[in-house]
Amino acid sequence: MNDGMRRTLGFARRVFRRKGALLSVLFLATVTFVAVFARWIVPYDPIGQDLISALEPPSARHWFGADELGRDIMSRVIYGARTSLLTAAGAVTIAALVGVPIGLVAGFFGGWRDAILMRIVDVLLSLPGILFAMALIAVLGRSQLAALVAVGITGIPSFARITRAQVLSLRKRDFVMAVEALGGSSTYNMFTTVLPNSWSPILVQVVILSSVAILLEAALAFLGVGIPPPTPSWGEMLRTGKSYLYEAPYYAVLPGIVLTLTILSLDTLGRTLALVLEDRHEVAEEEAEPDRSAA
């Protein structure tokens, strides 16, 4: 076993020693598994209508009951996991691909580059995330891509700020100065010296922002501006379920439980990662609370 593997194992052990993190990872693994193999797991076609069993309560036939068009709610929750996870993955990728370089350049060079880049980030922060996303969707129209891009853009400031803070704390360290003194170019220095030492806070941010992205996607769908139907989405199910609170209360409750557990799991995991990494002094002091004021 080499050194890297041993470190990773030790790290994993420290994370999983905390019961909350362990449970979260187990739950998230289940959700991911179910989302990936959805086609072979679902008992019914998630968009197949069966009007005779419309609003049927949970039973052996339909574990989570059936919706207003007789579609199996459990199958829709399973496919909804796919929508949520894909949107979160895409959005976080966009946010990281744009935000990390912004923070890297702003923190590394400082000066006018820092001023301009961080002003742009301020603009993104001048509106609550959900409003920014809604404005963007109002322009782009309602589609899966629009939801993904909108959620992704709202995540850029977090990555930019976290990376910048981390870079600032590394900038004057001996090993970074050494590369500079030896004549390494700034680009080389940024990407091969500073960036590899900034992974910890970025990783924490990836996990936390995934939870924010899932929440935001669901909120947009709930408002009727997210991913258009009939694509199953947890937020959309809550939106429709809300109209049948008297006839079919389970309709809005069951998808909500899965959504909430997913968000809580990602949150718990993110916090545990931050704690464990902080013990190793790898995370910069500044820890940004994610913006979910609206959702």
């Binding site: 002003r119 742009i120 301020d122 603009v123 001048s126 509106l127 609550p128 959900i130 409003l131 809604m134 404005a135 969707i137 109002a138 322009v139 129209g141 939870s211 929440l215 669901a218 909120a219 709930f222 408002l223 009727g224 501006v225 937020g235 809550l238 379920g241 809300k242 609170l245 008297y246 209360p249 809005a252 409750v253 909500g256 959504l259 909430t260 968000i263 809580l264 949150d267 718990t268 979910r292 004021s293 609206a294 959702a295």
Partner: protein, 315 residues
């Protein structure tokens, strides 16, 4: 102090300017023509002509932006494509409802959050601290729209105590009816902010408890209750004011989801309606309004903080 405020205002200018350019450009970015976006699908010939003049489409782009921007500064956002009313009037009508909901929500958040923070800071690491931290995590993690649905199920469907859809009744006209209508949405938001308040205040209390003056107070024989209530809490509440202010700023525009759950007629719901009817002048107006309020309250909170805490050096 005045210098500090002016300097902060100047720092805001680029942010406000760039954001306004973005909001202005929305009209040009939507599919179809900008004139169509401004008058809607069934505009009359006159309205189309007025829109062309208003946009100044034959003018250079900078002139087009300037005339829109000047109008916006003077409070002229144009007319709604749906109701044909001035956008500003529609927004102004919705302000009281949103402010009332936000105020109630913050009150509930304080009532729930402060005791949680104080108890868990007094017994850090105990089972009660751990379960109260669990409460904060839950309050922050449960999506407000789902919590709202659960509250409707309990209080409206099951117990039949409160209405499931909330209208706006002014507190000053009919306090009881106002509370009846605003309670559920305010509780939904209040639970959420109580999580933020509790977490922040707990951290702030814990750091104050380590201060020297606490040891002094204890060693001169003060009761623990007085140490906490008279000394620690007062100092810890100072930074806490900032958080409360920031949440107030967020609630001006950020109650979109909760307003949707309870069909509450506030600014957030206005925005959703505007988006679903593709009423672009209204969308622009609401977003610009929220943006300006958000930015200004943030500024106000900073200034207030510098004012109430003389230790802050704002030079």
């Amino acid at each position: 102090m005045t210098g500090y405020i002016i300097r902060r205002l100047f720092q805001l200018l680029p942010v406000l300017l760039i954001s306004s350019v973005g909001i202005w450009a929305m009209i040009y970015a939507v599919p179809g023509t900008p004139v169509g976006a401004i008058v809607g699908e069934n505009g009359t010939q006159e309205q189309i002509q007025a829109a062309i003049e208003r946009l100044g489409l034959d003018q250079p782009v900078l002139v087009q932006f300037w005339s829109w921007f000047r109008g916006a500064i003077l409070g002229d956002f144009g007319f709604s494509t749906q109701s044909r009313q001035p956008v500003l009037d529609i927004i102004v009508q919705r302000i009281p409802a949103t402010v009332q909901l936000g105020t109630f929500a913050i009150l509930i958040g304080l009532i729930l959050g402060i005791p949680v923070a104080v108890i868990s800071a007094v017994y850090p690491g105990s089972w009660i601290d751990r379960s109260l931290s669990g409460w904060s995590a839950l309050a922050l993690g449960v999506p407000t729209f789902w919590l709202g649905i659960l509250l409707i199920l309990l209080f409206s469907v099951h117990l039949n105590w409160l209405p499931s859809a909330s209208g706006y009744v002014s507190f000053w006209e009919n306090p009881l009816l106002a509370i009846r209508n605003t309670f559920l949405p305010a509780l939904t938001l209040g639970v959420y902010v109580s999580g933020i308040f509790a977490r922040f205040l707990r951290a702030s209390l814990l750091s104050e408890l380590k201060a020297d003056y606490v040891r002094t107070a204890r060693s001169k024989g003060l009761k623990e209750r007085d140490v906490i209530g008279r000394h620690v809490l007062r100092n810890a509440l100072l930074p806490f004011v900032t958080v409360v202010g920031l949440m107030a700023a967020a609630f001006i525009g950020g109650t979109v989801v909760t307003e949707a759950v309870f069909t509450y007629p506030g600014i957030g719901r206005l925005l959703i309606q505007a988006i679903s009817t593709r009423d672009y002048p209204l969308i622009q107006g609401v977003i610009l309004f929220i943006l300006v309020v958000h930015v200004l309250i943030n500024l106000l909170v900073d200034v207030l903080y510098a004012y109430i805490d003389p230790r802050i050096d704002y030079s």
